[in-house]
Symmetry: C2
Subunit: 165 residues, 2 copies
DNA sequence: TATTGTTATACTCTATAACTATA
DNA sequence: TATAGTTATAGAGTATAACAATA
């Protein structure tokens, strides 16, 4: 594994009297950070989400909202708990988000016939129309990412990440 | 590219009278989500960060704090702006975090001799000692991730992500 | 007893603006 | 003028607990 502990004491362990500011910039040492997958995943993920948010600013749709709308549209009639579990969203957070989306007139919550506790989720007509345009912007976003990191790298990352789940 | 728009209207575009709850669970259709790299990156990154936070709960150190401490320790004497830029952290956020770390007695901010505006950052003795143990826990965390996703996949992901920057 | 959806709370992160002191 | 650091604020995301209704 690439991640290893340092064996020698780093410079800053020297006595205070010996401490010196680093003036020039002989490149930063990232030390153990270089061995953390989470660090690199995070960097790219943040960049991608920022691009997504900017790209869909016209609809004011964030990644989490997009994923919820896509799932409802492709799986109409599901209860909230199923959608929440599928996307790793807290039930409480999803309830709030659905309220928001319902306020925009994009989704519907119908009382379930079979289970008095749950709501069956559907898109509205307006929601479907909005989602069509949103998906188009999301596709444009994905193509920007593809150009940024290269098509092969994108495909390889997608494959590696996908079958992990 | 794998991401493509649907050509046919999804089921939920049917008239309201035709809407039916989905009862059983014939697996969810993730539709366009399946083509978004950001979606998969996010899933794994969240999982990894949660594992990191749990693994370092004894020190109450979060990923961002860890990355800052590692950078200061390996690059003593740097001003805040350099560290912030390197880690894509807002200057304002870093200032707050450094105040926190200073409160724990882990880092020092010495006034810069060369630039009256900036602070030279150093670890304290206690900070170095804490960091040594923290790095050990971080290494254990990384090994858990390695076991979770497999050593080859981890290495490949790391390589693909690294030379993007 | 367990689950669905809801509300409320708290904490972290992120983004922004405004300010001071220096350069 | 621009930059370094600070403070304050607002918004989003996340985590938790508690509750009513239903299973």
């Amino acid at each position: 594994m690439a991640l290893r502990q340092r064996t020698s004491a780093p410079p800053s362990a020297a006595p205070d009297s010996a401490r010196k500011e680093t003036v020039n910039s002989p490149r930063l040492d990232f030390d153990t950070l270089d061995g953390h997958l989470g660090y690199f995943l995070r960097r790219l993920q943040v960049h991608i989400f920022q691009d997504f948010i900017r790209g869909l600013a016209a609809f004011d749709v964030r990644p989490a909202q997009y994923s919820v709308m896509v799932l409802i549209a492709s799986n109409p009639g599901r209860p909230q708990a199923i959608i929440a579990r599928a996307l790793n969203i807290e039930r409480a957070a999803l309830a709030k988000m659905l309220h928001e989306l319902q306020g925009r007139g994009w989704i519907q919550r119908l009382p379930s016939v079979r289970d008095g506790r749950s709501h069956a989720l559907f898109m509205t007509r307006d929601g479907e129309k909005a989602l069509a345009r949103i998906k188009s912007l999301a596709l444009t976003h994905e193509r920007r990412i593809e150009r940024l990191i290269g098509p092969e790298r994108r495909r390889e990352l997608l494959n590696l990440l996908k079958d992990f789940g």
